[in-house]
Assembly symmetry: C2
Homo-oligomer: 219 residues x 2
Amino acid sequence: MSVSVSTRRGAESEQAILDAARDILAHEGVEALSMRSVADRVGMSATAIYRYFKNKDDLVRRVVRVGFERFGAYLSAAGEEQPPGSLDRLAALGEAYIRFALENEAYFKLLFSLQHPHPHSIDDLPHGAGHGLLRTAVLEAIEAGSIRRYDPDVIVMYLWSVAHGLLTLSMSCRIEECPEFELGAVPCGPIELFEQFRPLVRGGIAAGPGDDGDEGGAA
Amino acid sequence: MSVSVSTRRGAESEQAILDAARDILAHEGVEALSMRSVADRVGMSATAIYRYFKNKDDLVRRVVRVGFERFGAYLSAAGEEQPPGSLDRLAALGEAYIRFALENEAYFKLLFSLQHPHPHSIDDLPHGAGHGLLRTAVLEAIEAGSIRRYDPDVIVMYLWSVAHGLLTLSMSCRIEECPEFELGAVPCGPIELFEQFRPLVRGGIAAGPGDDGDEGGAA
DNA sequence: CCATTATCGTTAACGCCGTTAAGTTAACGA
DNA sequence: TCGTTAACTTAACGGCGTTAACGATAATGG
């Protein structure tokens, strides 16, 4: 009886609004995302959106949440390509983190915006934006003996910080345009840099015992 | 010909505008920083600001630049408290980076905003936001044998990423409110976490010799 | 000393924004 | 048939960055 045409049409509108907002965000950037622009795209007036979303922030939150459900899937898939408990799995997670952020830059910038942070806590994110995934991988790696025994939550935050810091720095400073950041005369994006980080993350920056040889470097 | 009274009065207004904008940014946050609010504080109309600044972005850029001149001084002072070429100096720089960002959150968030990144390149920042400082410290540490020989620019980006990532994550996810991030039942802010990172940065995450490790990665 | 001129500031207005309030239309249950 | 309600509209408010046109005022040149 009651779950009738009207409610279904309502849900369809809601979905259309979400889709429109997602498109605008992805293709025109966050600055072009306004109630009016979304409304134009779905062919209704801006105020109609308020039937489905409390306000703009609510709409944006919903949009972002959808995007980050794929984030979790993307990370999960990338991690499972490497054996559990291995360092390679951790590296794959980091690389997937970076790759996804670069390919979905608007989403990433919006979610981790410093001005209006959208996750009120890590738990707000689907799969904790990969936090749970990473934590599991770290625990497995410790258990497998791949990485040293240390507070797993600290290791998680450390690894997350390395990838996230590299990303946010490259997004806000455009390091790829800096002449200093051409490694071996080849311009170097976040992914290449992240690869170069691997030995440092694995073995640290401290000089090893009896170590004096150069293990890498630019011209 | 003279740089006379009229120009000086103009410069005074310009300074008053900058001061007002800085105050609003620091005390009320970036959302309260509008041309009209700044104008109100200095006691003139919003449009008068355009005599001294091309537009809002120009004003903000100038404000941020002033703030980050102190950033460079802060980092420099913190670094010099530790012996040159030492790991302690690198750690001090990182800790100062975090401390300054926490104490000048609005500045930090504005400069490294992902939406409107203000540094067009690292060189835009006074002292490269400490980049030059860090680079020098890394080179000295390599020369002193404190850290391994590796591309110094990669090490710089790595260290910068660790600190910056921890900061931005904590600012956008409010990790201190997450129950997971109480280390030893004590709520744990960025500075405490950064301290916990030190052994990882120094020695890496890999299990030391003695543990059976899956050391056979890609590289 | 006066006219000119550049400097410093004003008010009014435009088009955008998020949001609220009130009104319209159509489908539905009783 | 009537009343209710969901879905959507238009009108409007206050705030935003910004432009244009205009006035006051101080410095300067003849």
